[in-house]
């Protein structure tokens, strides 16, 4: 059963393999395609990425430790009809020891230029689930919860006493992926 989410709610993980799924419907109108991207920032204890390779996104689809890997960039939302269009697979047993937390984000590519926001993207969501049992841990409906935003920090996996835990963040912004890169680089 999926847990209903409050912002900042902490959920025990205690598991080794999770996946982050991002899904949305393609644009059926005459405007630009909706190109949503799932990304991961793997942060050291100083809350910054140790180097650029620990930022997993469409131009860097696998972290150097092999812990986070993208299944590929969907430019339109057409990969799946109703299901996840982009997935980040996470193997927590492989995470480099200097990484203390992993932040997952959803952003809209060229949102400003194309005048888009999550509210325009039908059935857009981001979720994290146990990829062994397929049990959903947390989910946000981006179109409902972040209708005027273009980027959201979905949640973070973090180390605590040798275990990995998940915390839902739900922080939206209007600056797209660049604002997040500026924050964590």
């Amino acid at each position: 059963m999926a847990i209903s989410l409050e912002k900042g709610q902490r959920i025990e993980i205690g598991l080794s393999k999770v996946s982050v799924g991002l899904g949305w419907d393609p644009n059926e109108g005459t405007g630009f395609d909706f190109d949503l991207d799932a990304s991961a920032f793997m942060l050291g204890s100083n809350k910054h990425i140790p180097n650029d390779n620990f930022f997993v996104f469409y131009n860097n689809q696998k972290s150097p430790d092999g812990a986070v890997e993208s299944t590929g960039d969907d430019l339109t939302g057409g990969n799946s009809d109703g299901g996840d269009d982009e997935t980040l697979n996470v193997d927590l047993t492989k995470v480099d020891s200097q990484v203390q937390e992993i932040i997952f984000t959803a952003t809209i590519y060229k949102a400003e230029e194309r005048k888009q926001n999550f509210g325009q993207v039908r059935n857009s969501y981001i979720r994290i689930y146990n990829s062994i049992t397929n049990e959903e841990i947390a989910r946000y409906d981006l179109d409902e919860d972040f209708s005027i935003e273009t980027a959201v920090e979905f949640g973070r996996l973090y180390r605590r006493n040798g275990e990995w835990k998940f915390e839902a963040m739900g922080i939206g912004n209007k600056g797209g992926l660049q604002a997040l890169v500026n924050k964590y680089q």
Partner: protein, 213 residues
């Protein structure tokens, strides 16, 4: 105070609010010949994002009409949506300004209706291409329509609850989804949509009323 929405934005309606007036307005070139004829239409959509019976596409050609204050108006099967009077685009006062009003009573909305979508389209016919009078209509589009908006008023107090001014050019499009009311849990929400379709009302019908086309 009224909320000004941006494209895509979604707002929750107060739970006590059930009788709404949906007003859509625009300004067209009053000298266009033939005149611009804009039509407001409503689709009451079921679970699958489709109308479930033909009366739930409320437009100038609806078979289901009811007479209100001496005017014949199209109406949905559940009678929750009363369509606008077709005023041929510019309220016939030669200023080019037009608006149409649709009345919605959410207390009457059938439980099977999940969403009420409001569209505006520029009337034309594929036959216009070979018609000496109406041929210019083939090229009409929203790029020549100015100050288009949709606003929701409390039908009882007349207070404006929210408003969305369409700020895009849509210069190749004859049909635009302006906004939609939809159920979210037990609440109703409104979204400023602003999604355009090139050929007007016909592709919107193919999207939402496919089995009746």
């Amino acid at each position: 105070m009224a909320i000004n929405l941006i494209k895509g934005q979604r707002v929750e309606l107060d739970s006590g609010l059930s009788k709404l007036t949906i007003e859509m307005g625009w300004k067209v070139n009053p000298n266009a010949n033939p005149p611009y004829d804009l039509d407001a239409s409503t689709f009451l959509l079921g679970d699958k994002g489709q109308i479930e019976n033909e009366f739930d596409f409320v437009f100038y050609g609806s078979p289901n009409k009811t007479t209100v204050n001496g005017e014949e108006r199209p109406c949905s099967l559940d009678k929750s949506v009363l369509g606008s009077v077709d005023d041929l685009g510019d309220d016939e006062d030669d200023t080019g300004e037009g608006n149409e009003e649709i009345e919605v009573d959410l207390t009457k909305t059938s439980p099977s209706v999940k969403e009420i979508l409001f569209t505006v389209s520029i009337y034309w016919s594929p036959r216009d291409i070979n018609d000496p009078v109406n041929a210019p209509r083939v090229k009409y589009n929203f790029g020549q329509v100015r100050d288009a908006y949709i606003q929701i008023r409390n039908a009882i107090t007349n207070e404006v609850i929210c408003r969305y001014d369409l700020d895009e050019d849509f210069s190749t499009d004859k049909g635009v989804e302006f906004g939609r009311l939809y159920r979210r849990g037990i609440e109703w929400k409104f979204q400023a949509v602003g999604e355009a379709h090139k050929d007007g009302l016909e592709p919107i019908c193919r999207k939402y009323a496919s089995k009746f086309m």
